[in-house]
Symmetry: C2
Subunit: 417 residues, 2 copies
């Protein structure tokens, strides 16, 4: 059993200048962790030879495994490959398999091949080439003084494919890894401090092998228990026992005891009951429908949505009374209730979520400031409307409205006999 | 004029384990860059005293300005504050303004205050406290041997508010910063290599003060020119001149010459023309409507959407002929054309975008594999349908369908006399 510590180096000016959000590191961290490897450091550097070289030196000194992404593109700003080649003292040669791959991709895309693309098939002669089935840039696996360096493209789906198909299996075959397991649950409707206070005795009594983490996000808090052990059976049982204790403690606020988003938890609930959902969205503009349909298999419980951004869509398609809109406004209890009734009729679903609010930055008034939102959920027998007062910015208001609406629906379904 | 190099340290196990995607670093990188400060390194470490200490040492040795986020929450896993306190040799004391702030927030939320929350108002006695108007954890500004360390909460909107209101103005008042400017344009329909080949002569002739970057994303490529100079007027003129050359070179594929997403470019086009848009979405499930309504002011050109995920919504609300669905399937040219016609009638907009496809991972067949998508755009006079064959995963297929649909509409509007 070895404790393998890993580092991630991401290369690219676009990361430092912030034009691109680094989603690769999070994904790689998850994969490594799942396989019992602890990522201790993550570093981003620009497309600058000296900085890349220094990062390689630094991570060489502290990690056994160094995963590198980015800087393998065909353009002049991409210099990762020549720097790695020099760092490990190799020279660039054409790899025939990588060349075939480039040719195949261009044939399939029906695009002419240019010299710049053919250069993608050049690799240092002292690395093991990792095939890229999703793009033209091959991966590179170097070994030096017991360290492993793996360079992969920065394009997320290319990197992910390479990790899953090649890198993780090779790592697993090389090391005897410790057993690491997580259990995660999601709560809504309680703040992080209160949750911490509520489960303090539980947290203080945790053994050293188990860690508890609080992950707050958009009005919800995820709790994660992590165990590190040697015997999988024993560790799994110990983790499970603590997790059951935790679940009982937070039962009142628990959305799901799996590491899934709330839209997936709601989807499972509907699927179990053989029921269907539709949405009537004003201020969320289709975002709730998007969250629901981002889950594979959503078609078995989600039928559709009427996004009624303009008032005329509310009256024409959802049959909201124009008098209601005139008297109480689009952001009102009566309007969201009418939207639910209208959508139940039009979409023919068991449940409907309706939203109407002022997302900002403009459109607020003294009576209805930015962040004022009405959410209604209902079925043919009953409708429940609630008012929320968010603040913050537009994107956050849309996100908070969506997660609160999904939670409101979840509670409504559970109380619906 | 000083060249200030900055580093960003993000603290939290959740970043290394990949449970949270680090969007803060990208945002901070943008803000610093806009103000003439070059971020040379970004590091993420876990909630581990030794690792935080070492990261502080490392960045102390290479940067003048070190921005730190994360680890300031009220729970036991958050240790950034005591570590910083020790690192700078201070002791924790209660800050009265921060205490008032905590009390005010809890009064507004109508929640009882507990000791754990009051501890949020404790700060090292050797830092300048930075007020947090959006949360309970104050920021901390330390100075040591000419270096500035700023610690901020990891909650994005709290960090952003603190940066904008306090940190950036303080930095600007302390340093004479170089002038940095960017111009960015967005292209669609041409690959990165071809673009690079097409503008090679232009790129090779750029002066040392101007850098060109290629930022590919979901079938589109953003090109960014960056100038670093001393005289703002001179530098702006030099940048503008090169940018105009670049625009002429890529005119055929250019979506916009501003650093905005395609949905904003389409929105501006509609606004200029006083025209309106609606969507009829099957496979994108409301995502196109969400992208459009994520832009403030979208209500002046976007009326709404019918998300027809189930076939019965396609027939009942969009009046797609059931015979068409039976004979040609939901993913077909006839269906998306009928969806456009149906939505033009129901939503009463000038233009409609319709999508239908197989997003995966399931639902593919030999004739219509995962990634098969039909997109139609149209108005009362004309409808243009196109078939696409994406591959990859569900999230990427949804994203690619949305961006291609928006680009197809943009071209349709421009050719619509």
């Amino acid at each position: 059993m070895e404790k393998i510590v890993a580092s991630i180096i991401t290369i690219g000016d676009e990361l430092l200048i912030g034009q691109v959000v680094d989603t690769n590191s999070a994904w790689m961290g998850q994969e490594l962790n799942r396989n019992g490897i602890w990522v201790s450091h993550r570093t981003a550097v620009g497309d600058i030879r000296g900085d890349i070289w220094q990062a390689l030196d630094t991570e060489f000194s502290r990690s056994r495994l160094i995963l590198i992404t980015g800087g393998l593109g065909p353009t002049a700003d991409d210099i990762t490959k020549p720097v790695l080649c020099d760092y490990f003292g190799g020279k660039l040669v054409v790899d025939e398999d990588a060349l075939d791959n480039v040719k195949k991709i261009f044939t399939r895309l029906q695009r002419p091949l240019i010299a710049r693309n053919l250069q993608q098939a050049e690799v240092p002669d002292n690395c093991t080439v990792i095939p890229n089935r999703r793009g033209t840039a091959p991966g590179m696996w170097f070994e030096k003084e017991g360290r492993i360096f793996v360079s992969m493209p920065g394009v997320p789906h290319e990197m992910k494919g390479m990790m899953t198909d090649e890198v993780i299996p090779r790592i697993r075959s090389l090391f005897q890894l410790p057993f690491i397991a997580h259990r995660t649950l999601l709560t809504a409707g309680i703040g992080e401090s209160f949750l911490a206070e509520h489960i303090k005795t539980f947290e203080d009594a945790l053994p050293a092998s188990i860690r508890l983490a609080y992950l707050p996000n958009y009005g919800m808090v995820r709790l994660r228990l992590t165990i590190r052990g040697t015997d999988p059976v024993e560790a799994t049982a110990a983790l499970q026992s603590r997790f059951e204790d935790l679940k009982s403690l937070v039962a009142e606020w628990m959305v799901t005891d799996e590491d899934i988003p709330i839209q997936e938890a709601v989807g499972r609930l509907l699927k179990q009951r053989g029921q269907t959902l539709g949405t009537a969205e004003s201020c969320t503009g289709g975002y709730i429908a998007h969250l629901i349909t981002s889950i594979p298999g959503a078609s078995s419980y989600f039928k559709g949505s009427i996004v009624s951004y303009a008032n005329e869509i509310k009256t024409n398609l959802l049959h909201v009374n124009p008098g209601t809109l005139a008297a109480e406004g689009a952001v009102s209890e009566s309007t969201v209730e009418a939207m639910v009734r209208g959508a139940l009729g039009q979409l023919g679903t068991d449940y409907v979520i309706a939203t109407s609010g002022i997302m900002g930055p403009d459109g607020g008034s003294p009576e209805k400031p930015v962040g004022t939102v009405w959410i209604a959920v209902g079925n043919r027998r009953n409708i429940l409307a609630q008012k929320f007062s968010f603040r913050f910015d537009r994107a956050r208001n849309i996100e908070l409205t969506a997660t609160n609406a999904l939670n409101q629906l979840r509670k409504f379904i559970l109380s619906d006999k």
